[in-house]
């Protein structure tokens, strides 16, 4: 059993479509400075750094090397972790392992991306097998649209059900000054009317059937940094540390066509592993808030079923009943989620940072209206693989 570890500081840049005013190193530095200030630490207090992005997106390599002045890694142990969409949670898990091992007291986790400097679709295609998959893969949009086609076929979910997820994410984003998409026009309009407006809009163009513009995440420039500290130090740094209760990840297939699109088995198994470790029997009742990596709308229906918040096919009901809204039984993505900001290498780390803010009670206008004892954070990536990190107010057993 490792040491107990908590999140004690969090910083992020404003997530924007294009940050031409800074380069990648400066972007990283912005987030690191905010995180250090948040924890009232200096870079001298940091024992090691874990950093990640999808470096081939920007056509660069060795980000651990060339970002050292921005990340603060000069003459420190530094490690790069790159696992696709899950990069941010993998960075968080790696930083957590560093501290839990007892070898480092305070570790800085950094995730970032400048999508404005990348060809995201082209880069995603080249992440796949050059012989079997690259010739016909259609990037993330097509790769997610196919899953939606299966869920709609199997469970009769409709375009309106998908739009209900999008509406939740974009309404929540209005409370988050850091979010990329701020759809001010949505303010004050009830969710069901917003769904009708979105589904009926001719401007809402089809990207890849059944996904329209409103169903997808944006491409974002942004960075995030999270500081993990060991028991004994964590309590001195943060008034309410967000303790890591459990973490797990699952990978699955070799080639894309191996994925059984019927269910998201990796998020299901990783969630079950975390629930077992943390002694959670009734996830919907016991978890207070979620920050889930939902890159497109229908994931917000299907994957919450796979996590175990409801039965198969019941996701839409949870959405329409408002269970996952800010004032619902279990709010999902008070930050506005991935569908409101997606700086890919930062995205999953933002889930961890936002979950920690909720536990700490420091999320400002996006703070949920209750004491958060448990925040469930997820990462999704590469190809239907999953990372989970459960944060909480109490030290884990």
């Amino acid at each position: 059993m490792g040491k107990r570890v908590a999140v004690v500081g969090y910083g992020q840049t404003y997530q924007r479509s294009s940050r031409k005013d800074v380069n990648g190193v400066e972007l990283i530095n912005e987030a690191v400075r905010v995180a250090l200030a948040d924890a009232e630490l200096t870079i001298k207090d940091i024992d090691a750094i874990v950093i990640g992005n999808m470096d081939h997106f920007e056509g660069i390599n060795y980000v651990d090397m060339w970002s050292a002045e921005g990340s603060g890694a000069v003459m420190k142990p530094v490690m790069k972790v790159t696992t696709g969409g899950t990069t941010g949670t993998s960075v968080a898990m790696c930083a957590y392992y560093h501290v839990a091992s007892g070898m480092f007291d305070k570790v800085l986790a950094i995730g970032w991306e400048k999508n404005s400097e990348s060809d995201t679709t082209g880069a995603i295609i080249t992440a796949f097998h050059p012989v079997w998959e690259r010739p016909n893969l259609g990037g993330a949009v097509a790769g997610l649209a196919i899953e939606a086609s299966k869920y709609m076929h199997d469970y009769g979910a409709t375009e309106k059900d998908g739009a209900r997820v999008a509406v939740r994410e974009r309404l929540h984003a209005l409370n988050n000054p850091y979010a990329h998409l701020h759809q001010e026009w949505m303010k004050g309009i009830p969710p069901d009317q917003l769904v009708d407006l979105i589904v009926g809009s001719e401007q809402n163009q089809l990207l890849a059937y059944p996904l329209r513009m409103s169903d997808m995440c944006p491409r974002t420039d942004g960075a995030a940094a999270v500081i993990f500290a060991v028991e004994g130090k964590a309590e001195k740094i943060a008034p309410i540390p967000a303790w890591v209760q459990a973490t797990a990840n699952r990978h699955n297939f070799v080639y894309a066509g191996d994925v059984d699109m019927a269910r998201n088995t990796t998020i299901a198994e990783a969630s079950q592993a975390v629930f077992r470790k943390a002694g959670i029997k009734e996830p919907l009742k016991q978890i207070d808030v979620c920050e889930l990596y939902l890159p497109y709308s229908y994931a917000g229906l299907k994957w919450i079923e796979d996590i175990g918040f409801c039965g198969y096919g019941e996701g839409p009901r949870l959405l329409w009943d408002g269970v996952t809204d800010m004032d619902g039984e279990m709010p999902i993505n008070p930050s506005g989620g991935v569908m409101s900001s997606n700086a890919i290498g930062a995205t999953a780390l933002i889930r961890v940072g936002e979950g920690a803010l909720q536990v700490m009670g420091r999320a400002g206008a996006r703070q949920v209206n209750r004491k958060v004892n448990l925040a469930f954070c997820s990462g999704f990536g590469g190809c239907y693989w999953a990372d989970i990190m459960l944060l909480g107010r109490k030290k884990p057993a």
């Binding site: 295609i125 998959e133 010739p135 016909n136 196919i146 996904l211």
Partner: protein, 146 residues
Amino acid sequence: MVTSGDSSQPFNWTVDEYGSTFLREMRDHKKLVGIKCPKCGKVYVPPRPVCGQCYVGMNEIVPVSDEGEIYVFTIVHFGFVDPNTGVQRPVPHGYAFIKLDGADTCLTHFLDSVDPVKVKVGARVKAVFEPKRTGSMMDIKHFKVL
């Protein structure tokens, strides 16, 4: 050697023995093959040397049909530059995971149709082979929706 349309890439990728068998059978005989796990019986397409679930070696090449059904699909409407060729992919185009008869995993490929009435989960499809084949996945031009 993998080529990319009219352009070429300074890479050569090795496929394993069974992958080579797949490409050769497709190129020379317009036949598709999979590989069967001796433990769980699952038939993988394209064939590869190890069943990841059972973590055992596989060596039994089995024929699979050039017909099957659409397991999942999309009709891509957004235009993007294909990084393999540097040329924009045609829009709209159909893309699907195809479960060939006799296989347990799917082959990913293009569809010949973008007709929302015909292109559905469960629709029957058949491989259309290129007349000149080079030993690449694009020896299948697309799958025809029947």
